[in-house]
């Protein structure tokens, strides 16, 4: 932002530029043409609208939580209500926003285009996935308006099966159904990436965004059903009195934890991997360089997916698991930090000696790298057996996963939305306003969650709405930060909405990026390509792009 005035943005002459006559947005008209569409791009937009709604709904709960924590006294809401606030915040943000965020919107929109296909392999299943997601969302909303749910997003047994009188079954059903939406998205991606690649598009010519989503899809397909069965058993225990997790009948509540975290640890990677894919694309484009160590970054995605299945017990160290297996899981947790670090180092080496420009997506990418590194490093603290005993169930862990999920994933999501916005809608967002919002969210984010690391380290437990007065200063800082953060997230909705009509016309390739998606018109045609591309270049081959541009000029001239 400061210092540099250079930019790679290359827009067509606004006096003569026009939007394409025909594209996927105006190909058909009316609400029904959207609700029954098989077009992956339109389904991506449907998802984008729905998850934005759920994001702000979950954000309202976060705001109420922070408002309550402004003072040490339990003054704004009653204890039960507070429990419902953080439960609904967690459930909505994780299952209805973070899990589908990048894959179902950007992934849905871009994966077929990036590999040169006309659509995903199963368009109808793609649409079904959105309907399942909406059904899950509506059930969660039903649970919300009929009295809420207060199990926390983890549905811990026997609390959820025996001691609570809230809408556990409704919410669990909602998540079960939304889970199948995620399974179908993942399944569709895997088949598409295996089966629909354009001629010449070999595995190692695919953009890293595709690799990252492929790895996340594997986790969706193999992990989510285990969450599904554990939720089914919780529901059966509540309704019919089965005793699989019920200690009074001989069941083991820890078994629920094992099954739940068998999904929910990999779920962290379902959420973060596609974000890492976005960052690879953005870093490469705004450094004008091929990603350093392309193969290492590609394989590190798959390695994260694989290792992700071997570490879940680190969420259970204080719950009475055996010390020996806790030791094993603690060591394996250290292992999973390696592929994430590989990515960070390779991005850093890509930046080195690159011609870096600071457009908004790049600002978000820098925010991601910084915040995700802090989130990841504190994750290593928490994975270490001795530290975990002290820090778990405190605000330290809250701060840790918000650094990964919000600081990492949400920054990547916003970066990706800004990066591909001109492709999705054919118009640019306002540059200075968006830079302002990126900086605002970065400052607001750190102000919100940095104090929580300290609070947690000092011993403030999570999930209580009253606290000793000596913690108030840090809590006030955190609430103030949350307000700034809220502004940082609200701004993009306003100016992105504005840009749909008034933004500058972007042209095909405003960033001069190399991906196949940038070689077609913006917004794309319904069938993406007028003819199936034949790929002869690697991903991020800027020389190829320069040659191609030159060639185009000569043919026109």
């Amino acid at each position: 932002m400061s210092g540099t005035t250079s930019t790679i943005v290359n827009l067509p002459d606004q006096r003569t530029a026009t939007m394409p006559k025909r594209d996927y947005l105006n190909n058909e008209h009316g609400l029904l043409s959207w609700l029954f569409t098989g077009d992956h791009k339109r389904i991506a937009i449907l998802y984008l609208i729905s998850i934005t709604f759920f994001f702000f709904l979950g954000g309202i709960f976060a705001g109420l939580i922070r408002l309550e924590l402004l003072t040490p006294q339990p003054d704004l809401v009653a204890s039960d209500t507070y429990n419902k606030l953080f439960s609904l915040h967690g459930i909505i943000m994780i299952f209805l926003f973070l899990v589908p965020s990048v894959p179902a919107t950007l992934g849905n929109f871009l994966i077929p285009i990036m590999i040169g296909a006309k659509d995903l392999a199963f368009p109808k299943i793609n649409l079904l996935s959105w309907y399942l997601f909406m059904t899950g969302g509506v059930l969660t909303l039903t649970a919300l308006v009929t009295g809420g749910v207060d199990t926390g997003w983890t549905f811990t047994t026997p609390l959820s099966t025996h001691y609570l009188n809230t809408n556990v079954v409704t919410a669990a059903t909602g998540i079960f159904i939304a889970g199948f939406a995620s399974i179908f998205t993942g399944l569709n991606f895997i088949v598409t990436i295996h089966r629909m690649r354009a001629p010449g598009m070999t595995w190692f010519r695919m953009p890293l965004f595709v690799w990252a989503n492929y790895a996340a899809s594997i986790l969706m397909v193999l992990g989510t059903p285990v969450l599904a069965i554990s939720l089914v058993l919780v529901a059966l225990e509540r309704t019919l009195g089965l005793g699989v997790f019920d200690p009074t009948k001989g069941g083991d509540p820890l078994l629920f934890q094992h099954l739940f975290w068998f999904y929910s640890h990999p779920a962290v990677y379902i959420m973060i991997l596609p974000g890492m894919g976005v960052i690879s694309e953005v870093i490469s484009t705004f450094s004008r360089k091929r990603i350093f160590g392309y193969t290492a970054v590609a394989f590190s995605s798959v390695a994260i997916a694989l290792f992700g299945f071997f570490v879940w017990e680190h969420h259970m160290f204080i719950m009475g698991v055996s010390n020996y297996s806790a030791l094993v899981f603690s060591l394996l947790t250290m292992l999973v930090a390696v592929p994430s670090a590989i990515k960070i180092f390779n991005w850093a080496f890509t930046l080195q000696k690159g011609s870096i420009t600071f457009e908004t997506p790049m600002l978000y990418a820098f925010a991601f790298i910084g915040l995700f590194t802090i989130g990841g490093m504190t994750g290593v603290f928490l994975g270490a057996l001795g530290m975990d005993i002290h820090l778990t169930e405190t605000y330290f862990i809250v701060a840790h996963f918000h650094y990964v999920m919000v600081g990492g994933m949400l920054m990547a999501f916003l970066g990706g939305i800004h990066f591909w916005w001109p492709k999705m809608f054919g118009r640019m967002y306002p540059e200075s306003l968006s830079k302002l919002s990126a900086v605002t969210s970065f400052i607001g984010f750190n102000l919100t969650f940095m104090p929580q690391f300290v609070l947690g380290y000092l011993g403030m437990p999570r999930r209580y709405h009253a606290y000793p007065p000596e913690f108030q200063v840090l809590n006030v800082l955190s609430t103030a930060g949350a307000t700034v953060l809220g502004v940082g997230f609200l701004l993009p909705v306003l100016y992105l909405g504005w840009s749909l009509k008034y933004g500058a016309i972007a042209g095909n390739n405003p960033w001069q990026a190399t991906g196949l998606e940038w070689q077609i018109q913006s917004p794309p045609l319904t069938e993406n390509f007028t003819e199936i591309p034949i790929v002869t270049q690697d991903a991020y081959d800027y020389e190829w792009l320069a040659n191609k541009t030159e060639h185009e000029v000569t043919t026109v001239g």
Binding site: A121, R195, M196, G223, P225, G241, V244, K249, L255, E527
Partner: protein, 250 residues
């Protein structure tokens, strides 16, 4: 569009069947073979999901069987080995006719295809009927977990004319875990059967219209994968639930 594309790229490989003309060919696939292989692959990925779905239940079974072995033996011996074995045979038979149905579709025999699918469905119903008889017996004996669960038969088997070793009251309580798993596992299995039978009705209706006897067999083939998967689950459930220890006194 499709014709143009297929023509523009040289094919060294000749298909056995003509493949551009079929109406089921979706525009975004270049060839029908690509479409068919994508379908099979997608179905298998879905079955991976199913493996992990039942996997959670199978793990729970493994754990509690080791923890409460005596209770599992006593409770398992309450199940009818005869009905269980008959049901296994019925389900294998149903799978056999499903497999024959795939063959009939591939060789384009419409009448045989419909016949085989109908037999598959009927055997599915027979399985569910026998399952109902078994569930009903558990209901009458108060062996359904929950408030009305009754352990007296396990604490005092002689009074019921059983040759089982009596269980201590706390171990007898653990038979509830067995029956919880029994109902969860067979219930989930039965739910898959019911969904499968629903799909079979739809497939029979379509097969009867001749949709699958002109070279387009993907729906039959992929449904067959699902139906066989449900078979496999039962193939494991039968020995695990019915045959834990059938030689009392050992």
């Amino acid at each position: 569009m499709d014709n143009a594309l297929v023509a523009s790229h040289a094919h060294t490989h000749e298909e056995e069947h003509e493949h551009v003309a079929l109406p089921q060919h979706c525009h975004h696939f270049e060839t029908e073979q690509q479409q068919r292989e994508a379908g099979t692959f997608g179905m298998w990925l879905f079955l991976l999901t199913e493996i992990m779905f039942f996997g959670g239940l199978f793990f729970a079974y493994l754990l509690y069987r080791n923890w409460y072995h005596d209770a599992f033996v006593a409770a398992s011996n309450q199940l009818s080995i005869k009905l269980g074995a008959i049901n296994t045979a019925v389900l294998i038979g149903s799978g056999y006719f499903m497999a024959l149905g795939v063959w009939a579709a591939e060789v384009r025999k419409k009448g045989l295809l419909v016949l085989f699918l109908v037999i598959t469905t009927v055997l599915g119903f027979v399985f569910l009927g026998i399952k109902y008889v078994e569930y009903h017996e558990k209901w009458e004996k108060h062996h359904i977990p929950g408030e009305h669960f009754d352990v007296s038969e396990f604490v005092n088997p002689q009074a019921y004319g059983l040759k089982e070793t009596p269980l201590a009251p706390d171990m007898a309580q653990k038979t509830q875990v067995f029956f919880s798993l029994y109902f969860a596992m067979t219930g989930m299995h039965a739910l898959h059967m019911i969904i499968g039978i629903g799909l079979l009705f739809w497939l029979i209706w379509r097969a009867n219209r001749g949709e699958f006897s002109s070279g387009y067999v993907a729906p039959i083939e992929n449904f067959g994968l699902y139906w066989h998967f449900v078979d496999i689950v039962w193939i494991f459930l039968f020995p695990l639930l019915y045959l834990i220890n059938r030689h009392p006194g050992s």
